[in-house]
């Protein structure tokens, strides 16, 4: 089978299982974030200085460890963008091999009327200059900063496009994540008000928060590329949501604040023919009823802290479950223990389709996983996870 046939076959198998039919084998997903950098004995700085290096760094684990598809393509959030804009929110860790995040909340509680009135003007003309030192200078200097950022992403975009082609052409590997379906409430949480601010807003100014989230609706559609008049989107790659605030709020708050805008957006994506892969950070058991209320086969949920066996029983008939392999076991367990666990996961989660095999955390740092265990488990699932 050529690499192109292998790629197409893998996409077919992924879509088959996501449609709750049994594919030929259980697809195995790799989730290598900055772990790939330490695995290649490289550094974030080395990739920044030599962008092409990102291709070698992110192809290397796929030459060593079996998998059928890749969660995200390369280093998504780098530290260079923050360096260019003069923000302190992303920076390279002391060991040089991961990117760390510092919460900076440039919006104050009193700013809601401005956000609601004109979200783009408020964000870019008011909030951003408070956070990004290099965008709070003269217009000429600010323009130079934007040009630097553009040139950085022009090069990085080309490199990431080449990386995606390399994964396809050399390894027959599809990347699962395509456009981003960013929940408007997470835009407020992640980039404007932060953990403390939104916690206070949820109690003290609920109507303002609701209106602020609603005001960001259009920007969220723009980020997802869902433009007015669009008639159809592809079912693959998937629209992606990394859920952030939901794990910290109650179901009641989730329904009142998070869902009105987010649910409308993903139902629109589904109506256009798309599917959504959700990274379900934390534990989602309290929100299973909502996951079961979604149209069947539209969503893939990557589990972090949920019990995969319980999740398969409770929501596995409606959405596709991805996960199940304990990262703690991969890190500290013996090879036999890992394989025993993987066998149990396949036995219980694979029947009927609607399942992708992966581990319970995105790999970030060198010590996150014992690579020999990971190799052994993926090879075991490749051979054992065959539908008969």
């Amino acid at each position: 089978m050529s690499k192109e046939q292998l790629y197409n076959d893998r996409v077919d198998q992924i879509l088959t299982t996501v449609n709750h039919e049994e594919p030929k084998r259980v697809p195995i997903v790799s989730m290598y974030e900055t772990w790939a950098i330490s695995n290649a004995n490289s550094t974030v700085k080395e990739i920044e200085d030599n962008p092409e290096k990102e291709i070698d760094v992110y192809c290397k684990p796929h030459e060593e460890i079996y998998c059928d598809c890749v969660y995200t393509n390369g280093l998504v959030f780098d530290a260079k963008s923050a360096e260019i804009t003069g923000s302190k929110s992303h920076f390279i860790s002391e060991d040089g091999q991961t990117v760390q995040h510092l919460e900076i909340s440039p919006m104050e509680a009193k700013d809601y009327p401005e956000l609601i009135k004109n979200p783009m003007e408020f964000i870019f003309n008011e909030a951003i200059p408070r956070k990004c030192a290099n965008l709070s200078k003269t217009p000429d200097e600010n323009y130079e900063t934007l040009k630097k950022l553009l040139n950085h992403w022009k090069v990085k975009g080309q490199v990431q496009s080449r990386l995606q082609n390399e994964l396809k052409d050399r390894h027959g590997l599809p990347v699962l994540v395509g456009p981003i379906a960013y929940p408007p409430m997470d835009i407020v949480f992640d980039y404007l008000r932060g953990f403390k601010g939104i916690s206070l807003d949820l109690r003290r100014q609920q109507e303002q928060l609701l209106a602020g989230i609603a005001a960001l609706d259009e920007f969220a559609y723009d980020i997802a590329g869902i433009t007015p008049g669009i008639e159809k989107v592809e079912p693959f790659p998937f629209y992606a949501t990394m859920m952030h605030v939901p794990t910290f709020i109650s179901m009641k708050q989730y329904e009142k604040f998070f869902l009105p805008t987010y649910e409308k957006m993903i139902l629109k994506i589904n109506q256009l023919g798309g599917k959504v892969i959700m990274f379900l950070e934390g534990n989602w058991e309290s929100k299973y009823e909502w996951l079961n209320s979604l149209p069947k086969n539209m969503a893939i949920g990557i589990l972090e802290d949920d019990d995969v066996f319980n999740a398969k029983k409770k929501i596995g008939d409606n959405i596709t479950i991805a996960g199940g392999m304990s990262i703690g076991l991969l890190q500290r367990g013996s090879k036999d223990q890992c394989i025993d666990h993987a066998k149990k996961v396949i036995d219980e989660c694979a029947p009927g389709g609607g399942y992708l095999f992966t581990y319970s955390r995105i790999l970030s740092s060198k010590g996150d996983v014992n690579i020999e265990n990971l190799k052994a488990v993926n090879e075991f699932v490749r051979d054992y996870g065959v539908y008969k």
């Binding site: 963008s81 965008l135 040009k147 433009t227």
Partner: protein
């Protein structure tokens, strides 16, 4: 450059003057600027 250009107006200028490496399709160009706006917000 006019001294009162805001960041949003600078994004418009960027879209008009710096995207020759992209196809002329207006949607592609707008999409790239939206992506850059997102990267500024996320940075």
């Amino acid at each position: 450059m006019e001294n009162d250009k805001t960041i949003l107006e600078l994004f418009d200028k960027l879209q008009q003057e710096e995207l020759d490496f992209l196809p002329p399709d207006e949607n592609v160009r707008k999409g790239f600027i939206t992506f850059l706006k997102f990267m500024v917000l996320a940075s």
